[in-house]
């Protein structure tokens, strides 16, 4: 199979404009694929980050120091639901520490505050964000609980955004890849039609369909792989260029910079996708003309 590669390369060199069109459309589609994949992966990472944060905070009455038995009872009740990933008790002292850490830049806010003024609380992470509401309801009816707050809206909004990015990305990239496939098919079909006499001669001289179609399949693979590499390179450059801005925007969410391993995995996926589209396009283009 590899021996047909030089012939495929020769044919590409002899029709540079067709090759340029094929590589351009492949690059465009795979670039779009890269962008949406990075967006989807990024939004998924942000969502995961939020999902793993404490999502429900139940505050005890501020004039009360809960006994360990009372805290354990609430913990037991929560874990009995099987909806809870993690439960953490924050004492008044710990609450003060957190408060100080959060307001360390504003001494005025720290002056008059003591541990007694802050409520102890329980932080709960749900296994599934959809279960936040029943957990919150359960906490509300626990003894000595004064207030329950949870980030239901943020997480569910984020989940909606993530699934929208996936859906739009999948539809847009999918339709673009179909168009790319058709254009590759068309370009190689033109070449095959130009070489119809050659194909007939090869058949009459005893060539197998594999012998005839392999150079065209290689041609498609070369278009696909070249397009994938350019698309990946451009998207990586844009990502590197915009990392400082994005890192500031996503302050505290540790997803940037994107690891090299992740980017090379993306390159591998794109090369494979480009090669498959090119190969199948090339094969189908030549198959129509084969009789043997």
């Amino acid at each position: 199979m590899i021996k047909h590669l030089p012939l495929a390369w020769q044919r590409i060199r002899r029709s540079p404009y067709q090759a340029l069109a094929a590589v351009s459309i492949m690059t465009m589609s795979l670039f779009l694929g890269s962008v949406f994949f990075l967006l989807a992966a990024g939004s998924q990472a942000v969502l995961t980050y939020f999902e793993t944060r404490p999502q429900v905070n139940a505050f005890f009455k501020s004039d009360l120091v809960p006994t360990p038995q009372a805290v354990d009872l609430i913990k037991t009740n929560l874990q009995a639901t099987n909806l809870v990933a993690d439960v953490k008790y924050i004492s008044k002292e710990e609450a003060l520490k957190l408060y100080k850490e959060l307001n360390k830049s504003d001494p005025l806010l720290l002056e008059a505050v003591t541990a007694n003024m802050l409520p102890a609380s329980i932080e709960v992470s749900a296994k599934n964000p959809a279960d936040l509401k029943p957990i919150a309801e359960l906490l509300k009816v626990q003894p000595d609980i004064d207030d329950v707050r949870f980030a239901e809206d943020i997480v569910s909004q984020l989940a909606k955004w993530t699934s929208s990015v996936r859906l739009i990305g999948f539809s847009l990239v999918g339709s673009h890849l179909i168009i790319t496939f058709i254009i590759i098919l068309l370009i190689i079909s033109i070449k095959v039609a130009n070489r119809r006499d050659e194909i007939v001669l090869h058949e009459l001289l005893g060539a197998t369909s594999g012998y005839i179609s392999t150079p065209f399949v290689w041609e498609g693979i070369i278009y696909g792989v070249t397009g994938a590499f350019i698309a990946w390179g451009v998207s990586y450059l844009i990502l590197l260029y915009s990392t400082p801005f994005l890192a500031g925007f996503l302050a505290g969410i540790p997803i940037l910079p994107v690891s090299l391993w992740f980017m090379f995995s993306l390159l591998g996926g794109e090369l494979l996708l480009g090669a498959v589209i090119g190969a199948v396009g090339g094969f189908l283009a030549v198959r129509r003309f084969l009789k043997v």
Binding site: E198, L204, L205, A207
Partner: protein, 218 residues
């Protein structure tokens, strides 16, 4: 080697062959003669398995798989079918490349075939740079390069001057006598047929009208 029994072939409403029967033994040199449209090319295409008969039976030598079978045949096409973007050497090498022969063997066989056809000095030229006779010889070089058991030649002397035509046929007779290759040559060149004194199958309107061991052109 080849046995045709009541072969019939239609193209739409046109009857190209009408119950044609003949047998060809290994090592025979046979002329297929007849006017244009008499069915000569159709017979050759059926032997090449480029067409299937509508009726009748055609028993052929060699492997069952089409591509393997065709590798045992050398064909000289009426329109040469030389690839315009390949030079004489590359065109001649094509059957061996298709067979997957080693580069060293290809080089040896191609040089020998081109020498036999007197084309050694034309090796690097492209078809557009060759004369009619040279094109015909290049096509013949490609047909013999893989040492086929059977050579099918469809009007190999068409459009050639008498001297060049005679030279081409001399090459074919040399191959036949030296290599015992079976040769089936479709022609309406009366001079050549009458000169060589070989078996002649005459066709007219898709029928065999005469089959004589040492025939003349009618």
């Amino acid at each position: 080697m080849i046995s045709a029994q009541k072969l019939t072939k239609k193209f739409g409403n046109i009857l190209a062959l009408d119950a044609v029967s003949f047998d060809i033994a290994p090592g025979e040199f046979v002329f297929l003669t007849g006017p244009s449209g008499s069915g000569k090319t159709t017979v050759l295409r059926l032997i090449m398995r480029d067409l299937k008969p509508d009726a009748g039976k055609l028993v052929l030598f060699g492997p069952a798989k089409i591509h393997e079978y065709r590798r045992t045949i050398g064909t000289v096409f009426q329109d040469f079918k030389l690839l315009l973007d390949r030079n004489v050497y590359e065109n001649t090498a094509l059957p061996l490349e298709i067979m997957g022969a080693a580069a060293v063997d290809i080089d040896k066989a191609v040089k020998k075939a081109l020498e036999l056809m007197g084309l050694t000095a034309r090796t690097d030229l492209f078809p557009a740079q060759l004369s009619g006779g040279e094109l015909q010889r290049a096509a013949l070089a490609r047909a013999i390069v893989a040492r086929p058991k059977l050579i099918l030649a469809d009007e190999p002397t068409g459009n050639l001057d008498p001297k060049t035509a005679r030279a081409i046929v001399n090459l074919l007779t040399t191959l036949h006598s030296q290599l015992q290759t079976t040769i089936i040559m479709a022609t309406h060149n009366a001079d050549i047929v009458n000169h060589l004194d070989r078996r002649v199958i005459s066709l007219d309107a898709g029928k065999v009208i005469k089959d004589t061991p040492k025939g003349k052109y009618d």
